[in-house]
């Protein structure tokens, strides 16, 4: 029953992407993703935020496929500049520079690109296959969650993001609390108008799109405005398509590295807010630790590129699974994709698979298809995009700002939304300057209404002693303990690290 139901859903999903529209959006999203990914400073979060208003007017599946293709193909774009220019196009490709650029310096740029592109595609494909198979059981398990669990899941997601700042946890927590308050503006589930300040536009709450465009795109543009170029300079090198192709096949000489990196990538990607950067760095150090020649890492070792690229691409599948099955974004870009789902009236979480299986499986099928397309684009023309680094910011900033303006306006056909977007932009810019995580505000805005509604439902179900439900139900209790661990981790880390160092030292001395 379980298997046949799942295969049926796969078939429905596959059927859904067999249309000209979907194929067009996959192609467009992939192209835009590679271009944006190749420009350091422009992130997948920024690209998806700017294009969110365009996605608003598309059919839900088209919108998700379009944004999803941008998200995953950004990783490809990022590896191009990481290998050719020692400048990761996105933070996720930071670990790729460690061995990618030394290979370029040795005159093996095409080989490095081949390893990188091949590993990215393999990591992506493995991760979407796991996503395809695991989505159903994960969502089925999540269906057991009641309002108290869903409230705690939302709070867990917010607190995890807030804790990313480590010892500046208080800053992350303030940002998250601000986001939570912003997210609870509007008509409450009780029917009362809450903190609308007499403004009719705020009755439906703070719109997700202007906050996303502001905090991710405008804040980044204001930051870029202070620089002359996105990057100081970029030198072009000729690559050979034949050598790229040969080394793409060459990755299969390292099956152990690929398998390890894929597992690390999917697992870390599925943890809310951990993301591809952490996945790539952990996978790189794991590959180095288990390699027979760890001394070669950092000098142009193919295994290093394969470990980093497989993991950062595999993280996208894990992140999307957490987003769609539980409703907790695994990264900033998946938070935007979550926003896209909500703006189309779809409720992310386990019920999404039951009610909109076509959309979920259609998205997975589209992403699998887009991997093939990305390999072709990245191998044939991708490396030419590195020339975009030379675009001066005094052209880039005004042009993208105009896109942000029009994008926020068209959502409600009102200038109020545009003002709101710009206010969020300034807030995001200041937050970035003083080391506050804007993603924590976004998580608060996105998950705030869900947390508020679920807490109210918990109260209605369990009465005035509703908070006891958090400690008497097993899943709730597990979530409470997890949240406490996350909160205490930065502080406990200080005391635990000497213990870790001691154990590591003991292990080394045994060898």
């Amino acid at each position: 029953m379980f298997g046949s139901e799942m295969f049926q859903q796969w078939a429905v999903g596959f059927n859904a992407i067999l249309s000209f529209d979907i194929l067009f959006y996959i192609l467009l999203g992939t192209f835009l993703g590679i271009v944006v990914g190749a420009i350091p400073g422009l992130t997948s979060g920024m690209a998806t935020a700017i294009l969110l208003p365009v996605a608003f007017f598309m059919a839900p599946l088209n919108a998700l496929v379009f944004l999803g293709a941008i998200y995953v193909s950004c990783m490809y774009g990022a590896l191009l500049t990481a290998i050719l220019l020692n400048t990761p196009g996105a933070p996720e490709a930071s670990a790729t520079t460690l061995d990618g650029y030394p290979m370029t310096k040795q005159g093996k740029a095409s080989e490095a690109l081949g390893y990188g592109i091949g590993a990215s595609a393999t990591g992506g494909l493995i991760s979407y296959m796991v996503f395809l198979v695991a989505m159903y059981p994960v969502a089925k398990f999540a269906l057991k969650f009641g309002p108290s669990e869903l409230f705690l899941v939302a709070m867990f997601g917010i607190i995890v993001v807030a804790s990313l700042k480590g010892e500046a946890f208080h800053k992350g927590l303030l940002a998250a609390a601000l986001g939570l308050l912003l997210g609870t503006i509007g008509i409450a589930a009780t029917g009362e108008w809450r903190a609308t300040f007499g403004n009719i536009y705020l009755a439906e709450g703070v719109q997700i799109i202007p906050s996303l465009i502001g905090l991710f795109a405008v804040a980044e543009l204001l930051y870029l405005a202070e620089r002359k170029f996105v990057m100081p300079s970029g030198k072009g090198e000729k690559q050979s398509f034949g050598r790229i192709l040969a080394k793409m096949r060459g990755i299969f000489r390292y099956p152990g590295t690929i398998a390890r990196a894929a597992i690390v990538g999917i697992t870390i990607g599925a943890i809310p807010a951990a993301g591809g950067t952490v996945a790539a760095l952990v996978s790189y150090s794991e590959a180095k630790r288990s390699s027979k020649h760890p001394e070669k890492f950092g000098t142009g070792c193919p295994e290093g590129i394969i470990a980093a690229e497989t993991a950062n691409n595999a993280s996208t599948g894990g992140a999307l699974m957490t987003t769609l099955a539980i409703g907790i974004p695994g990264s900033s870009t998946t938070a935007i994709i979550l926003g896209a789902l909500m703006m189309h009236g779809l409720c992310p979480g386990p019920r999404l698979l039951v009610e909109q299986g076509e959309i979920v499986y259609g998205l997975i099928m589209a992403l699998i298809f887009s991997q093939g397309l990305m390999v072709l684009m990245a191998a044939f023309v991708g490396h030419r995009f590195t020339g975009l680094l030379r675009v001066p910011t005094h052209i880039l900033v005004p042009v993208i700002l105009v896109f942000c303006m029009v994008g926020s306006f068209v959502i409600r056909n009102s200038m109020f939304v545009a003002y709101l977007m710009f206010a969020f932009g300034i807030l995001g810019w200041i937050m970035r300057k003083y080391d506050y995580p804007p993603i924590a505000v976004v998580m608060g805005i996105v998950l705030g209404p869900i947390a508020d509604e679920m807490l109210l439902l918990t109260h209605m179900r369990f009465g005035d002693a509703y908070y006891l439900a958090f400690f008497t139900r097993p899943i709730s209790l597990a979530l409470v303990i997890l949240t406490i661990i996350v909160v205490l981790r930065p502080y406990l880390g200080k005391y635990l690290s000497p213990l870790g160092k001691y154990l590591h030292h003991k292990r080394e001395s045994k060898h």
Binding site: L174, A177, T190, T196, Y223, E226, V397, F409
Partner: protein
């Protein structure tokens, strides 16, 4: 900004207090706005407000205020730091980001009255100039191409009306 006594000097880190101040203002206005609502509506809001208030104050005092001892050799006079503040404001106004921040709301206001296309055209040119662009060809080529693309995507492809202002009905 610095305040100086006989033994100690208190300095305000103007950057570090911005976010706690914004948060405090927001929390207080939010609090007075929702004070009369039913407790059920404030189940999540109330603890969040308190948390936000405490954290804002904590960060304000922890990161925003620095108290340091004055060395004995320094003269014990009150220090007026106004020339320094004026200098800071001058630097801020020369900053490219500040220019963009100042010009953008003006463009928003103008868009409401005069419509998106003409104002966005002027906005791109003006912002490019403020950020350091001086090539006339770029001014002639970039804005029309971008605006044509926006017009095509939104008005023609997605059938979403752009603000027309006084040009309403012209096209």
């Amino acid at each position: 900004m610095k305040f100086r006594g006989r033994k100690y000097r208190i300095s305000l880190s103007s950057g570090e207090i911005i976010i706690p101040l914004i948060a405090l203002l927001f929390v207080l206005s939010y609090y007075f706005e929702v004070i009369n609502l039913s407790p059920k509506t404030l189940l999540l809001v109330k603890p969040t407000l308190y948390l936000c208030f405490i954290l804002s104050l904590f960060i304000f005092f922890k990161d925003g205020i620095k108290v340091s001892k004055i060395p004995k050799s320094a003269p014990p006079t009150l220090e007026h730091n106004l020339p320094g503040l004026a200098k800071k404001i001058g630097i801020l106004l020369r900053n490219k980001t500040t220019r963009v921040i100042l010009i953008t709301p003006i463009a928003f206001l103008a868009i409401e009255k005069l419509g998106f296309i003409p104002i966005a055209f002027l906005y791109i040119i003006f912002t490019m100039y403020l950020l350091g662009q001086r090539k006339v060809l770029i001014f002639i080529f970039i804005p029309p191409v971008i605006l044509l693309a926006i017009y095509f995507v939104f008005q023609v492809y997605l059938h979403v009306p752009l603000p027309m202002g006084i040009l309403k009905g012209v096209w």
